[in-house]
Amino acid sequence: MTEARYYERGPIPETPEPKQRQDHWTATKVVGQALPRVDAYQRLSGAAIYPSDVNLPEMLYGAVLRCPHAHAKVQSLDTTAAEQMPGVRAILTAESPGTDIPWQPESEGPASVLFDSVCRFEGEAVAAVAAATPYQAHDALRTIRVVYDVLPAVSNPQAALEPGAPKVHPDGNSSGEPSTYERGDVNAGFDAADAVVEETFAVPFLLHTPLEPHGCVARWEGDKLTLWESTQGVYNVQSQTAAALDLPLSHVRVIGHYVGGGFGSKLAIGKYTLIAALLAKQTAKPVKVFLSREETLLCVGNRPGGTMRLKAGAKRDGSLTALEFEALGSGGAYSPYGTGLFDWQIRDLYNCSNVRTKGQSAYINAGEERPMRAPGHPQGSWALEQILDALAEKLGLDPLELRLRNLTTVSQARGGIPYTSTGFKECLEEGARAFGWAAARARPAADGALVRGVGMGGCTWIAGAGGPPSTAIVKYFADGSVNLNMGASDIGTGTKTVMAMVVAEELGVPLERIQIEHADTGTTEFATASGGSKTVPTESPAVRAAALDCKEQLLVMAAADLETPVGDLQLHEGEVFSSRDSSKRMAVKEISQFQRRRTVVGIGYRGPNPEGKATCPFAAQFCEVEVDKLTGEVRVLRFLGAHDSGRVMSRLTYDNQVYGGIVMGIGFGLMERRVLDEKQTGKMVNRNWHDYKIPTAMDVPAAIESLPIEIQDLECNTTGAKGLGEPVTIPTAAAIANAVYHATGVRVTEAPINPTRLLELLAAHDQRRA
């Protein structure tokens, strides 16, 4: 099951259930407020040390020689000249001892090694150098002579599956049997339909491009390794590195206090991690390996593109009778997950008894996919939300109305178990109201070159429930200040801020008196990587439990001093008081036992999710665009995101996620695409930020509105939070496509939408109408 990969990687080591009974918050004092981040000072002053900022005494710089061909065999490799270059301290090749390391042995994809003699994608690692300066390291790389046997390459999944296609792997290019799903009777469903629409869609391969490049600094102290890695999960880096280098987990310390973006591409280690460790070992010096921007575009992940065919049928009243979906994609040269979760929206979001999906993945000579913000979902949403609009038009229904007629409260893709909560209906209705949907939709079309239109889309996200394991520790100091210890990374979503607010809520400690120790395998507790919109729903209950454990210990001690039942006592801002007897109060620091002990340590665990239920976030997004029919330019004028992600834990970071997801979706909708030189070399031609275009400040509306749909979810976990970071980017591009259709009458089924595609479609449309 490809979906399992994204929300449960192997057996999950459960953490114990929390000891304390945790009532649901009714009113909150801190949680949900719009408070500046607890690490704002660090991030704004330059005090935050990102892994790429680490600078150690005698540190060397590593650089990786990469295969310039899409497919080639290394015939020979000569480092003689490089060894003589100024500043060079170490060179690693496939011949170097200790480099024969299996690469990604746990993957379901084909096997490989650190320096594989067959390079199956451009950018594959061939050798590495450590030198005194990064300039010298690159000088040395330029002198390494490699003779390649250049092999034919295949660059897209369709071509890869044709007979006679160049073989990426000896066994061919199929990534295995297609993944299929079926419920009900799809043929009968289409027979029963009053309207059927069918369309083929295409989406390009997209790239994460976080601002901080991938990389790490490695330092050995004897047989113990410390890594400062730009990562979303220090424990992933620890376990993968320890396994690759055959080290005890205790001998690999990974520190990732800050990370300059990841979006899924930094959930796992890269070859650079092991290369840095090996170079550091060989030179007995710390080594810094950070990739160039070009390298990050070639070989540290992408969001698979592909083609999709979607057929939908509905009754006259709009109720869906059947959905049939087929996708073809690629996970690159090594990942079999080329269409992973493409079909999830189709299977789960709208009520439909008869659904059939099929996903086929092929290997191609290109970099491997890595999960990218809502894996598979934006691709499937591009098809589903557009086909629904087409269906609505055919039925004479408003697109919003069609969606409202196909709501469900159960997760159909999971066998019909209920959601712990769903605010999808409210997202659609309240979002539409706040956006002014009905009025905008009814506005008569302009007759000039500049035309406007509005569009929308809905979504759910497969994960977003979070779950065990997680352990957090809250340490309450003698003066009432607090240390929070947790393993999770704050990838920019505000994890630290949210968790500090949870502690503040329970212990009545002001945020500025809370210090957080996190993302360090040497000093903090185990946490899964921050990704999949599961960090807040995973960590916040554990942190809450730790705070409650701490509080209970303090109150028990105070109860002895105050000679009052523990159940009557409350804690706020360093004071314990009885809710029944106002004379019973004391400062925490005066609690006699506490005075002797100096600290109280509370431990919290993330308990299990409810059985037999699904917890998912939901959203509806609405936008208005302006299209210049003479030039094909599309301008997004405004956007509104109505999101049900359960409790709003922190209003500022919540809204910021919504803005950010929409901005990334605008990139997908209007400009982003990886371009390979398919017909010639198979090499990537746009491996930089000028040719691979992501949105700038000029491309996004200042008017993006975040409308939280705060549905109380009493079952999902003890804070009531659901994930947010992925759903915010799922329906965005499709909503833009629907708005462009509304404005122009042209349905753009292949992303992105800009003059390079839209103008010819507009011309063809005009011709048909003439």
């Binding site: 000072y41 900022d53 921007r293 000029m698």
Partner: protein, 215 residues
């Protein structure tokens, strides 16, 4: 490696003339491990300054009101020198090819990409980095506005965004929304926080004007 006398803000900087370039003045103070031997350059004043490839020469930079002397190779970018030689890592490096803006610094009050600026070209100029906007340990106006409006997520593009806004406000104290957009259009934010950056720039402009302008 650096002079300890920190200059008072806005005080006139000591003139560093072209003659300082390649004269021996910096040699006594250099000592950074560059892996390349220092070469005493041509000190003739009547012809063009010539530095051979791979040679290092002493250079004096004025960064945030402090004079720093160090050895540089001709090809070393200002971003590299700031981050890896001076370990002033408030300045970030996202692309090293002038496309993302994370390395933005002010050179004589004007925003530039330090990754596309040779260090030798920045000699004689007043360089301001993120660290230079701090007032002691307090955040400067633009930094405080960014905190208040949550104008960042991962924070890696943020120093560049802050410097772009600072540069904008130094030349245009009361920018319109379109001027703000344009002002930060050379700074990519993959987290997509642009709407909050716009708000922060407005707030910072208000804050600066509120105190009679000037930084």
């Amino acid at each position: 490696m650096e002079d300890n006398h920190r200059k008072k803000k806005n005080a006139a900087e000591p003139g560093v003339t072209r003659r300082h370039f390649l004269t021996g003045t910096g040699l006594g103070a250099v000592g950074l491990a560059t892996g390349v031997p220092a070469v005493e350059g041509d000190t003739k004043t009547d012809s063009a300054v010539v530095i051979e490839a791979g040679q290092t020469v002493p250079v004096t930079l004025q960064i945030n009101g402090v004079r720093k002397r160090l050895l540089v190779e001709p090809r070393w970018s200002l971003a590299y020198v700031l981050r890896e030689q001076l370990v002033m890592t408030g300045t970030k490096l996202g692309c090293d090819r002038g496309e993302c803006g994370a390395c933005t610094v002010l050179v004589d009050d004007v925003p530039r990409y330090s990754c596309m600026t040779l260090t030798l070209e920045a000699e004689d100029s007043k360089i301001t980095t993120l660290e230079g906007l701090l007032d002691g340990e307090e955040l400067g106006d633009v930094q405080r506005a960014f905190a208040e409006k949550d104008a960042f997520q991962c924070g890696y593009c943020t120093p560049g965004q802050v410097m772009a806004v600072e540069g904008l406000l130094r030349s245009n104290p009361d920018p319109s929304i379109e001027e703000i957009r344009t002002g930060v259009s050379g700074n990519l934010c993959r987290c997509g926080t642009y709407p909050n950056i716009f708000k922060a720039a407005h707030l910072a402009a208000d804050m600066k004007r509120g105190r009679g302008g000037g930084s």
